[in-house]
């Protein structure tokens, strides 16, 4: 592709990308320039599922995928609480990256197997653990055995 020098203050003409797309290094080369996109990565991850109090007897996850664009992460996961056990409080799970030093409402979602409740995910400052509660702050474990939480999280790192 031929490159043409553009005078200062003018907008460069649109450029056509090759069929291979834009490639970033496997390890981020961080830029301090706020106008520079310095990282892209996609993959899968393994969340660790726990409860705010007590213990979950059986849980599992599926579809844990993420995309990182610059300093923003989008992550999706389905969490199944097969047997609640003594669990109470929030349903917690680890994310693929640690959040910033600011509290974020990172996640939103829905219970899809028992009562269809809307869910939200709280991410404390400097934490990699998202806390799921229902829309009205009740414990998602109150939905009973077989609950499935479909969550999407978007947060800054």
């Amino acid at each position: 592709m031929a490159l043409t020098q553009v005078p200062s203050g003018m907008i460069a003409p649109a450029q056509t990308l090759s069929v291979n797309g834009v490639t970033f290094p496997a390890t981020q080369s961080a830029s301090a320039d706020a106008n520079t996109l310095d990282d892209y990565e996609e993959g899968t991850w393994t969340p660790t599922i726990s409860s705010g109090s007590g213990t979950i007897t059986t849980s599992s996850f599926s579809g844990a995928k993420y995309t990182k664009i610059g300093n923003v992460v989008e992550a999706t996961v389905n969490i199944t609480i097969t047997t609640v056990g003594t669990a109470g409080g929030s349903c917690n799970f680890t994310l693929p990256f640690t959040g910033t030093n600011t509290v974020q409402i990172a996640g939103y979602g829905m219970e899809v197997n028992t009562n269809g409740a809307m869910l939200k995910g709280n991410l404390q400052a400097n934490s990699a653990t998202e806390q799921i509660t229902s829309y009205n702050n009740t414990s998602p474990f109150s939905f009973g055995n077989g609950s499935v939480f479909v969550m999407t999280s978007v947060y800054q790192i």
């Binding site: 496997a26 390890t27 990565e41 996609e42 993959g43 899968t44 991850w45 393994t46 969340p47 660790t48 705010g52 109090s53 993420y66 409080g89 929030s90 680890t94 994310l95 693929p96 990256f97 640690t98 030093n101 709280n122 404390q124 400097n126 934490s127 990699a128 653990t129 806390q131 509660t133 702050n137 009740t138 414990s139």
Partner: protein, 85 residues
């Protein structure tokens, strides 16, 4: 034509004192030429079970999770639990 698969932990980061971010890369090559690369991640915290982790991951966890860091993490968890609902 030879296809090879290489799986390795290619990134281990300590973030915010106690979060150990681990990335595993799976690279597929055909006759030595790159075909594809995929990533899988997980985060370890001081109360994580690290018995199944690779030795280099264990070594970093054990170095990062000093007694002072573990105390700070427990305090953080207590604060987090208080804010959960």
């Amino acid at each position: 034509m030879a296809l090879t698969e290489k799986i390795e932990i290619d990134q281990i980061e300590i973030v915010a004192n106690w979060n150990i971010q681990v990335r595993q890369a799976t690279v597929i090559e055909r006759d030595g030429q790159f075909v594809s690369r995929t990533f899988h991640r997980w985060v370890l915290q001081p109360d994580s079970d690290i018995s199944g982790q690779e030795q280099k991951v264990k070594d970093i966890c054990n170095a990062a999770w000093t007694p002072a860091v573990k105390v700070a993490y427990e305090a953080f968890k207590a604060e987090q639990a208080a804010r959960q609902l």
